[in-house]
Symmetry: C2
Subunit: 172 residues, 2 copies
């Protein structure tokens, strides 16, 4: 690899908003909107006030998108789920800054509680969704069974065709 330039700090690749957004399948507008709602804050700003995103920002965006698309949460609900996470993340710095073990414990417990809450909500949603899958699966199975049972009737054309439609018109 020929270095055309020195690479003093390749450690932190900061992305412009379009790159970050594209990375997770969002538009810059949405990302700004999420920031407006307090869902995240770019790791930094350039000299000219351009938003600059790091890896954790991108992951956070991905998580947000998952909550929205896959879990179907509203942005307001997502905001609650991540509520003070931003503020707490600032305290993550405080974690390393403090030497007080009680303080460290408090911070970690807070974080733990949040994750447990998130996992709980998600699992509840998975459970309800699974119920729907099962129901649909049940309907499918019953229909499949009826289809299986059809051939026998193929032999006997009219078993009970004397069933006049009790209601319903063909309107829509």
């Amino acid at each position: 690899m020929t270095e055309t330039k020195e690479r003093p700090a390749p450690s932190v690749r900061l992305l412009h908003i379009q790159e970050a957004a594209a990375e997770v399948g969002l538009t810059p507008r949405s990302v700004r909107y999420y920031e407006e709602l307090g869902l995240l804050k770019p790791a930094a700003r350039s000299e000219g006030d351009y938003r600059l995103y790091d890896a954790t920002d991108v992951e956070r965006l991905r998580f947000i998108k998952g909550l929205r698309d896959d879990a179907g949460f509203s942005l307001a609900e997502i905001a609650k789920l991540l509520e003070d996470e931003a503020a707490r993340e600032r305290e993550h710095v405080a974690f390393h800054a403090t030497s007080d073990p009680a303080e460290r414990q408090r911070i970690l417990r807070d974080r733990l509680a949040r994750y447990e809450h998130q996992a709980h909500m998600l699992r509840a949603k998975v459970a309800r969704l699974q119920t729907m899958v099962d129901e649909t699966e049940g309907r499918r199975a019953r229909t499949a069974a009826r289809l299986e049972a059809l051939p026998s009737e193929l032999a006997a054309p009219s078993t009970e065709s004397a069933l006049p439609a009790p209601n319903q018109e063909t309107a829509r």
Copy 2:
């Protein structure tokens, strides 16, 4: 249970819109809106044009609500999932009307295909959601581990009593 009245036709209990809506946790307004979008049609209308819902209507409403709340589908997506189901349900009548086994088979196969499609979509969503649960669970586990690993310098008289955060859920 003594019958205070004759029960000439207890077979089909038809509900007014408010009863049907309440049954599944919706508002009459939403139910009318869903009808406007073509998601369902009341089984009948009263003499004065009141909407009247039967059991299958209620089940359909419940399914719609599940798709919206639990699966997070938009009403447009739900419309697609149930798309011709309404039309096909009309054909369900045709199923009993026809004596043509080939026709019956076609109808059932159509129905089967729809259920399979629905189950497929739901399972895909469950899978993605499960991934999110796992990720969150992973973060939780790592945080828990770090908490465990905290130096037992807890000898320091912390201001807070060391009661393990009562993880209370306010979920409905």
